[in-house]
Each structure stands twice: as structure tokens, then as C-alpha cells.
Symmetry: C2
Subunit: 349 residues, 2 copies
């Protein structure tokens, strides 16, 4: 019976013995008081019989529909991005924007993800560096990353918190620390390294950098390699604290310390960045830098919308220089259980 292609309102109309526009009226919900009960039922029945669904593309071609904004995050597992998404979506909703979420690490994949979709604006969070800007003149705001072109961005100001952390460690007596970095090559992580390096230099502290992939197991391995061999080898590590670029890495260090029979924070102070669930789940709770992800998302979305409302369609020669702004959101150091003076202040002579 059924033809190959899906039934249209015409098909429904002829089956129900009415005109196509009547079908339209019914399916728009505009039928009350304008189409008789009997006719409505006939239409609905015919539609059900045919499995008819109004063609969304055709409808939107006519009516326009609400503007759609794409939120892109690189990872769905990391709770931090979840927070960003939550904040951004709330802001978008409030402004009457429809949201579509794309989970991809780089912009090209994002583009592929939404090919053929009507996207009016893009909010891209923590995308990989070096991605060229969107070829399309879509208004975009970048979150927590180097804006590729002349795009606006919202980022964290992490350096002060990291400086505060290093100072705090210094005050407690730490003189030599390890810095467990992320292998991910994004602007945020570069900035974190720079901030730690600068702070250490300023205090004349020794700093030992190591890189690891952003998961517990990799961090555990990297940290284990750093820590002295198991009991009896007589060694304390050549550092008394580990500053990590991410809470996930810190958990790896906790595990490694445990493997090596070292106590946290007795033998080793550990800190992270992000303040995700993991940070309070571990014992002792992790000293970390809280990054207000929701606020990041919300702020970015607000800027994007503002840009849109004032005609951000990158129209002609309307000098668009002033639109490239970079806002920085403050990050807050949360000192919790893990930071304490080194076991033996004389460990390095």
C-alpha cells in the first residue's frame, strides 16, 4: 500500500475528503471554532491511518521558528562541562532560544555534527586549539579557550588563585613541588602552567613538571613513576606537594601515593583544579580551585545573545572591531584537607 515517501498533508486531505488547508488548520491547533468537530475527527483519523507527521522543515521554512543556538562541549563525562552547559542552556532558554548540544572535541566535528541544521549562533566551550574559525559567518562566542579569530571569549582568570595556592604552600614550608600537567594542548592548560611556573619562580621554589592524559589511570601511572620506590628504599620524594591541573589528575596522585604507602596530606600535599564531585569524594577532601562553570556558560550565552540582538549577523562594513571582547571570570581557591606542611621540612637538606 504505502508509497515510498512519507505522507503529506495533501494525502491526508484527500483521504479525509477535505482540503489541504483544513488539514493544516487542524495540525496547527488552530482548528477550534473554525473546523467542525466531525471534520477534525476525520482529519485526525486519516492522519493516523497514514502515519502522517507534519514536515518540520516545510513548516519552519514558512514560519521561521525560534532562533537556534548551538552549544558545543568537548566531553560529556566531565562534570565541569556539564555545569557550563547547564548555565548556558538556562540563559538561552530564558531568552527564547532553542538549544542544540554537540559533544565534540574540535570545531570541524561540531560542524559535521550539525550539517544541514539551522544554527543561528554558536557557543563553543574549551575547543581544541588551532581549529580554524568557522567558515560560516555565524556569530560565535568562545568559552575557556583562545578565540580563533576576532571572536569574543569568556575565560577564567586562574593565575591569581594558582599564585595564592603556591604562596600558601610556600607559607606552610613547602619548597619543592611537582606540577602534574595535562597533555591536552589548550590555552587554559598553557595558562595554568605559566601561572604555576611564575608563582614558583617568584618564591624561589623548585618545580618539577610532568604531563599526563586527563584520566585517573594515566595520572596514577605518571605519579607513581615520580614517587619513590616502595617501602624500604629509604626515599622521600624530591618534592612535598603535587599541584595538579585538574581534579581528575589529583585523584590519580592520591591513588599513587597510596600505592607507595605515602599519606596525603601527611607526606604529600595534593591540589587540583575544577572542584568537581570527585574533589569532595576523596579522603581527605581535595584542595582545589573552583571554576564557576555555570557562570561561564551563562555569561557566554548572554554575550552571544546581546551580540545577536544588536544585529550581529556580521553585516557589511559595519566596523565590527569593538565586538571582540574577552571577559575573565574569577576562579576561587578552596583550601581543604589536603594542604599541610611537609612531613620533614629538612627533607631536601
Amino acid at each position: 500500500m504505502s508509497n515510498g515517501r512519507p505522507p503529506t498533508s495533501h494525502d491526508v486531505a484527500s483521504l479525509a475528503g477535505v482540503s489541504q488547508s483544513t488539514v493544516s488548520l487542524v495540525f496547527r491547533g488552530a482548528a477550534s471554532g473554525r473546523v467542525s468537530e466531525r471534520t477534525q475527527r476525520a482529519v485526525v483519523d486519516a492522519a493516523r491511518q497514514l502515519g502522517f507527521r507534519p514536515n518540520a522543515d516545510a513548516r519552519r521554512l514558512r514560519t521561521g521558528g525560534p532562533p537556534m543556538v548551538l552549544i558545543a562541549i568537548p566531553d560529556i563525562v566531565n562534570p565541569f562541562f556539564a555545569r557550563v552547559f547547564t548555565g548556558a542552556r538556562a540563559a538561552a532558554r530564558e531568552a527564547g532560544f532553542q538549544v542544540v548540544l554537540s559533544v565534540q572535541r574540535d570545531l570541524d566535528s561540531v560542524a559535521a555534527d550539525v550539517t544541514g541544521q539551522r544554527i543561528d549562533a554558536v557557543l563553543a566551550c574549551s575547543l581544541q586549539d588551532g581549529g580554524r574559525p568557522l567558515e560560516d559567518p555565524v556569530p560565535a562566542v568562545v568559552l575557556d579557550a583562545e578565540p580563533p579569530q576576532g571572536q569574543s571569549s569568556v575565560r577564567f582568570d586562574i593565575a591569581p588563585a594558582l599564585t595564592e595556592l603556591v604562596d600558601h604552600l610556600h607559607r606552610l614550608g613547602h619548597r619543592s613541588i611537582a606540577h602534574l600537567r595535562s597533555e591536552v594542548r589548550t590555552a587554559t592548560f598553557r595558562e595554568r602552567t605559566e601561572a604555576v611556573d611564575a608563582a614558583c619562580a617568584r618564591r624561589g621554589m623548585n618545580r618539577m613538571p610532568v604531563a599526563s592524559a586527563l584520566n585517573i589511570d594515566a595520572a596514577r601511572e605518571a605519579a607513581t613513576a615520580l614517587l619513590p620506590a616502595p617501602a624500604g628504599s629509604g626515599g622521600c620524594p624530591p618534592f612535598t606537594a603535587v599541584v595538579c591541573d585538574d581534579d581528575v589528575l589529583s585523584v590519580g596522585v592520591y591513588k599513587a601515593a597510596q600505592d607507595r604507602g605515602l599519606s596525603v596530606p601527611g607526606d604529600l600535599s595534593v591540589s587540583g583544579i575544577d572542584n568537581v564531585d570527585l574533589a569532595t569524594a576523596v579522603t581527605p577532601e581535595l584542595t582545589t580551585v573552583d571554576l564557576p562553570g555555570e557562570e561561564l556558560g551563562a555569561t557566554g550565552m548572554h554575550r552571544l545573545i546581546a551580540h545577536l540582538e544588536r544585529g550581529g549577523g556580521s553585516r557589511g562594513g559595519t566596523g565590527g572591531a569593538a565586538t571582540t571582547e574577552c571577559v575573565r571570570l574569577p576562579a576561587r581557591l578552596l583550601i581543604r584537607g589536603s594542604t599541610a606542611p611537609p612531613a620533614d621540612p629538612a627533607s631536601r637538606g
Copy 2:
């Protein structure tokens, strides 16, 4: 200068001094060898000048575009759903489907989320109970939940693992356990409760059920209330193990035990369900039931696609009874550090 509404290919055509169809040719990428270099440049320039972007809705109305499947998950923070999404998306991609993700707890919100979008099929994971089925005749498969109507579903078979867990505890000497349940009223959690109850009954074990919201803090509070007052009150808890409906809850119990000065697993055995990151981050690592989320997502998507390919458009009277299937995926018990015999087997006389 700029009119209110966005520029169309006609606008570009007249600015470039060519016909509209030429503009179309260029923007489809079908211009090579058919439109002169000079003309192409003129078109591109005019388009850039106007900020022209081809209207995606119009294009899709003509060409159809790839089928789109909606994946709905209730929560983006929970890594379990992340796994489901990952598995489902991979399967969809492989089959040439475009994916749109909606993060909403109930079907109505999901519907609102994608109003006006062209959705050809729906894969809904762990949706709240009691939601009426979609009014639209969209092919759908339900994951990890009671299928609302006559819809297919893919779910876990958790009971055997839970039975195994209780048996394991029994064998170790546990006779009285607490069951920390989730307040969320979904089919999965009901099933978990039933399985624990049944297993306890079969072994003649005492069981103390408590409900909590699905986050660490709530679980911590609930568990604290259950555990004996701080040091000196002389009491051991009236149970020697806590079986939790979710890893997140287990972490709350770890914290509560710590608050009360109880050791895990020395004084208290704790187990969870899900096997998320948290489960291995805590010390000792958590005994839990691994739910293969990726497989759940992939299996569900495969079924959905299969249903689609064989004309699943819910056409007419084609007896659709046989399509309502329910697959069960096995869950696996992972016994890790946390399960051990109770501190004093005589604690309850």
C-alpha cells in the same frame, strides 16, 4: 542599510549581477567546471558582503537530508548516561543517522526541547515513569525504563548481580544490612529494591531500607542519621553492610562512616551500582555492579534503526504487535575492596 530579514540567495544574485540559480550552484559546491572562476568570486564576495547563509530549512525541504534521531538522557552530570549516549551515538553515526541530544528528565520537556525539529526517531534513556507516550507516531525505543506504551525497550538484568551480592555478603557472615535507595521513582530503582528484598528474604537476612536523593550530600546525611552517634556512645550500627542503589550514594555512605569514625570495610561493607569513576576514586575501591552503558545505548540504537529500516513508520493496520520487544542486558558484579566480614559477628547477639 540592512533590511530586517536575513539575506537570501536572490539578494546575493542581484548584488553579484547573476541569477539566483548560479548562487545556488556555488553554495552547493557544484560550481566547479560549470561556473566561471570570475563569476564564482563575484558570488562569494557578494555573499560575504551581505552576510549570506543558505537557509538550512529551505535546503532540507528540497533535498530531504539525512534522517535524524533524538537521544534523550535525563542528566548530563552522571557518567553513566554519558556512556549510554556515547554508545548510542556511535551506532547512529555508523548507520548514517544524524544525532541530536536532549538532556531532560521527562518526555514532555524533551518534546519541548525539540519542537519544530525534524526528528525521525527517538531513543529515550531512563525517563521518569508515568510520562505518557509521545503523541506523535515517532518510532521510539526506551532504555533502562518501563516502556510507556507498546514500545520496545532495552534494559538491564540487575537482579542476578544483586542476588549474587547479597549472597556474597551472607557468605561473609553479614546478617543485617541497610539498603540505601534512590528517591527517584523509576522502574530501574524499583527493580533494584525488589531484587535486594527478595535476596535478603531468601537468605533470611535483616534489611533496613532508607531513601535518599541521588547526590553525595543527601546520601551522606541519610547515612549519618542511620549510623550510631559519635565515639563513646558504645554502639555499633544495627547492620554491618550498606547496599546502595547507586555509586553516588555509596560515596555519601563512605563520608558518613568517616564522620562517625567507622572504617570501611572494617566496620561497614559498602556497595554501589553503576561502576562510574567515583567507584575507583574512593578508598577502598567500591564493590559495585557494572552496568554496560555503552552497550545499552548501542543495542537500543540498533533496534531503533532496524525498526526504522523495515518501515517502522507505524503504517496503518500492519499488525504492529510483534514489534514490542524487551531485551535485557546482563549486569556484572564487581567485588572490590569494600566487601569484608563484619567487625564483630556477634554484634546483634
